[in-house]
């Protein structure tokens, strides 16, 4: 009798849990899975975003691999993502070590270095746009440097550097804070024991600090890479893909040509490829997250 009551109450609990979860799952399906499936379906059509369209099989995918503009956008996006990931992680780690050492005004300084992380990428892009268009060339002329005298943003060879600088300026803030919390997990007595063995300076960093915070390095690298591959805001405000289409990121191209350029179906195919790449990187991320959990 008692067991029966208990099982009935478990049954009622299950119903309540289902009533909590199902609407949320339906919402998730409607606004995440369904559009994903639709995007996948559109990728096999020649839909322009309006009007009628036909099924074209794999033609979009075949064309993608022969399209120079698409190829260049992947090249540009990966170049920016890889270079920025390296720059951001090196500078963040140096800053984190500095901000974690025995300095004065520690919390104020940490607060200041974090400011870029709370600001929006678009507006920061506009501010740097002015900097690259007017301030830096004026500085270049003043010091007589030919490279700096003309704007980075109007030079197809150099515009990507401006994108790297702006994206890095913002991302360093977040990564520094994550590295600081990583450095705080290293117990002080490790350093004290190391100091007795003569491990100081670079040796201390290479042999003690770096191996101990390695999980943070890998997770930061993967997160950076994933975020930077999706770069969009800074492209919108810095270059709008120019000059001469030299700074079109994958997201920017999908947005610009897919929604405005009549390539809805074609860019859907591009988005599917992009999705596969992000999935691979996210799987790496989960793998690193899992291995870190075991260690800590």
């Amino acid at each position: 009798m008692k067991r029966q009551m208990q099982s009935r109450s478990i049954g009622r609990k299950d119903k309540t849990f289902l009533a909590m979860l199902l609407p949320i799952m339906i919402l998730f399906f409607l606004f995440n899975t369904l559009p994903l499936l639709q995007g996948f379906a559109y990728s096999f059509t020649n839909f322009r975003g309006f009007g009628s369209y036909n099924f074209v099989g794999l033609r979009n995918y075949v064309n993608l691999f022969q399209d120079d503009r698409i190829g260049h956008s992947y090249q540009f996006t990966f170049l920016v993502a890889i270079v920025t990931t390296i720059i951001v992680n090196v500078i963040s780690l140096v800053l984190a070590i500095g901000l974690n050492s025995k300095i004065r005004f520690k919390s104020t300084l940490r607060g200041i270095y974090f400011i870029p992380a709370v600001l929006g990428g678009l507006v920061i892009g506009y501010i740097f746009n002015f900097f690259f268009t007017y301030i830096l060339p004026a500085f270049g002329q003043a010091v007589g440097s030919a490279t700096l005298s003309s704007s980075f943003l109007s030079n197809p060879q150099l515009a990507w550097i401006a994108v790297v600088i702006v994206v890095a300026w913002q991302s360093i803030a977040m990564n520094t804070i994550i590295y600081i919390s990583g450095l705080q997990t290293v117990p002080q007595d490790v350093y004290e024991a190391g100091a007795l063995d003569g491990a100081t300076g670079w040796k201390k960093f290479k042999n003690l600090t770096l191996p101990l915070i390695m999980p943070f390095v890998t997770i930061n690298m993967v997160l950076c890479m994933k975020n930077f591959l999706m770069v969009f805001d800074q492209i919108m405000s810095l270059t709008k893909g120019g000059p001469a289409q030299s700074t079109e990121s994958i997201s920017y191209l999908i947005y610009n040509n897919g929604l405005g350029g009549g390539q809805f179906g074609y860019q859907s195919a591009n988005a599917v490829i992009f999705f596969v790449i992000i999935v691979i990187i996210s799987l790496l991320q989960l793998k690193f997250l899992g291995s870190k959990e075991e260690q800590l």
């Binding site: 799952m25 998730f28 901000l99 400011i115 929006g120 678009l122 804070i177 994958i250 859907s268």
Partner: protein, 285 residues
């Protein structure tokens, strides 16, 4: 003995060279902000071609650029939309995502369906907005959601995987005994959630609120594709849409940029500790 003392001394002494280097490094943070403030307060006639001229403080600190920028970008209404969207997203996210986290986290060990639900919704982390964007524009037009309401729905769905992951992780720290006590007292699942679990998840609510608010406030892409044609703007979207009206009047443009940055800067100044803690919690969990 000797080494002991030197270790102690090292621990206490302030490292001034690094302190000074770190202070100098702040220039890289402040320079763009300084530039923004200076240009925002100047008149176009004060802008000269050499750097010193452009970066000099204005002769008169005038607010006229700001009042005009407010008029051009419809600042009051735009700020209103940004606050409305961010607040609704945060409140709905905290409620819906903690509910999802609770339902999934407490049942996935015994029931396959919840485990499936967990991994199904977690897989949303893998989906870049770029692939959803185009079908979602079609969908929004169909459902009459091409407005701020649609943006909020998309945010709640888009931030769900990450936030649910955080809540499920945090739930492991809340002992089952608390809930069982409530059940013994005759409380149902709902009232147990509201009276026992929800208040106990406070630290994670703070983290989720901070992460969600920052992402929603600064996002451009979602409002751009969802409410681009609705005439309403969020703060970043207004900067994008009114670029052409600023044309070459950089002082007006920078006044507008500064206006767009000030709300989040004030918020950061007030809740600096909570924001940094929230971001760190979210990132290393």
């Amino acid at each position: 003995m000797n080494t002991d003392r030197s270790v102690n001394r090292v621990r206490r002494r302030t490292n001034w060279p690094i302190t000074i280097l770190m202070i100098i490094g702040c220039v890289t943070i402040f320079f763009p902000l300084y530039m923004t403030v200076i240009i925002a307060f100047k008149k176009p006639s004060e802008m000269t071609n050499d750097i010193l001229g452009a970066l000099q403080p204005p002769a008169h600190w005038s607010l006229s650029n700001f009042s005009e920028a407010m008029k051009v970008t419809n600042f009051g209404q735009t700020l209103g939309y940004s606050i409305l969207i961010t607040l609704c997203t945060v409140v709905l996210s905290v409620i819906i995502h903690s509910l999802a986290g609770y339902a999934v986290g407490r049942n996935m060990a015994r029931k396959k369906f919840y485990k499936f639900a967990y991994f199904y919704m977690l897989s949303g982390m893998f989906v870049p907005f770029a692939i959803l964007m185009m079908p979602e524009v079609k969908q929004a037009a169909l459902l009459h959601l091409a407005n701020w309401g649609g943006v909020i729905i998309l945010y709640v769905v888009f931030f769900m995987p990450m936030n649910m992951l955080l809540y499920v992780g945090y739930l492991k720290n809340i002992p089952m005994a608390l809930e069982e006590a409530a059940y013994v007292d005759g409380a149902g699942v709902w009232s147990t959630f509201w009276h026992v679990i929800f208040p106990n998840m406070m630290p994670m609510h703070a983290t989720v609120a901070v992460l969600t608010a920052l992402s929603a406030w600064n996002d451009v892409m979602t409002p751009l594709v969802m409410m681009g044609g609705s005439g309403a703007n969020t703060l970043p979207l207004a900067q994008l849409n009114f670029q052409s009206q600023f044309s070459t009047n950089y002082n007006l443009a920078f006044a507008s940029y500064l206006l767009a940055l000030i709300p989040i800067l004030i918020f950061y100044l007030i809740c600096q500790k909570q924001i940094i803690n929230g971001v760190v919690n979210g990132a290393i969990k």
